[in-house]
Symmetry: C2
Subunit: 279 residues, 2 copies
């Protein structure tokens, strides 16, 4: 099959690599993309196209892997370009947003598949998982048959795969935000060393592990986590469950999202200061 | 020394036992207390008094161990009864609330010590810790010299001990609330089994452990956690850090706080239903 990937970022390239491994011709759009993206696309053996119009005339299926806040725009762009194949959204979005995309693409005669990816961009089997739901989920799973990204076709309609992703990220990324905020407060109160002593007493290794994770997320990923936390907050609200955990998590990631690995020294102290910038 | 305990609940009795072990005469007030409290008081070797007036005329120090929402009332009652000794608040309260109590007791000539307890009611050494701060913290630590409750006298003024407690509980009880809410959403979406499969994949044993903890907290302790979450939310706000994690946690515990161990079958399904009662 001929399949398009929008876009080959770190995760998108790993998704595309799995489809190439599975015997498909995979295409990307080079217009406006960085050199790093080009290098990833070439390393994965993707075919270059220069525009969305060219892509919709070339491929039978499109896979969307983009930041959560761009997911609806990507779907709308694909439909506006006249695409008529199968469209898999694999993004970290609320079930409500998956339905919103379904309502954009299905009336245009496009076959919609809801997806959600759990894990890091995979290089080995059995480490990362693409959940798929909706009537065409089993069909879409065939695009990834060779791995290393694993697929899980689950019962349930559009929204079930996105919901699984939301719930998983709500712990991993949500808990990291909770602990980053907590360390910001403990620093402000001058009691972080005491909190760490107690953590170490009850859970040896916990403070070092969580401080490392908090710093790493702040400098590498936080910029794109705020939107995902907002999707989780929407999911919780729609399920009738208190969602302040995630409005707060979005605010935490929003405060630290401007930090960058390349901007010099990376310190937990700097992260803590940014977390407290309401002070 | 003659020391009063207000009141010998599960934790209060363990605190009192440590003071008895350390050679002190410890007193409790029996008026209006349950049979269970009497049994705990007698088992710990406490002396019975029948009124607050009798206590303030008998003891040189009072230790307050009560639900967070009652902490200020207990301090005011002690002062109104004319007490003139040392007063240790060991409750799970915000630094702001500790200052509020300080402002009640210090002008009345009472020596105030800020405290916070981390851990379960102790029966063995080195399992639970009483943090103490403020000018008289080292003096108060002497009341507990024999254990099993350990003391930690920390630098810092009134509020440092309470702040340490807040930060510790913000992870232990706050994270439990986050996971209970998450499981409520996953149940509503029909994807809990998939979330659990992923948890088990990345962290073997995690789902069983967290489901057990969520159920146990719901039926045994949630009723008294809502107030503590509100104190944590206040602490976060005062530190300039997003506090929605804890307003949401208070709401979660508020929704499940009416569940009781004695009311028949205990199921996680029942907990999940109560968590979603906004639905």
């Amino acid at each position: 099959m001929k399949i398009g990937i929008l876009n080959p970022g770190m995760m998108g390239a790993a998704v595309a690599q799995t489809m190439v491994n599975s015997g498909h011709d995979v295409y990307w759009i080079s217009a406006g993309r960085s050199d790093a993206t080009r290098q990833r696309a070439e390393a994965a053996g993707l075919h270059e196209l220069t525009s969305g119009a060219e892509m919709v005339n070339t491929v039978e299926a499109i896979v969307s892997v983009c930041p959560p806040h761009a997911a609806v725009d990507v779907a709308e762009m694909v439909i506006e370009a006249g695409f008529k194949g199968a469209f898999l959204d694999a993004n970290a979005i609320a079930p409500r947003t998956a339905h919103q995309i379904n309502d954009v693409v299905t009336p245009a005669g496009v076959d919609f598949i809801d997806g959600g990816i759990i894990g890091m961009p995979p290089t080995e089997p059995n480490t990362s998982f693409l959940f798929l739901s909706g009537p065409s989920a089993a069909m879409a799973a065939e695009w990834f048959s060779a791995g290393p990204l694993e697929t899980r076709v689950i019962d349930g309609e559009i929204g079930a795969a996105s919901g699984t992703k939301m719930c998983f990220a709500a712990n991993s990324k949500g808990y990291n935000a909770l602990l980053t905020a907590l360390m910001g407060v403990a620093t402000e109160l001058g009691v972080l060393e005491h909190v760490e002593e107690m953590w170490e007493h009850y859970w040896p290794g916990f403070p070092a592990q969580k401080k490392r994770a908090s710093k790493s997320v702040a400098y590498n990923k936080a910029w794109r986590f705020a939107g995902e936390m907002e999707e989780i907050a929407q999911t919780w609200e729609d399920a009738g469950v208190p969602n302040g955990f995630y409005t707060a998590a979005a605010e935490v990631y929003g405060r630290i999202g401007h930090l960058r690995e390349s901007d010099g020294e990376q310190t937990l102290e700097e992260v803590m200061k940014e977390v407290r910038k309401g002070k």
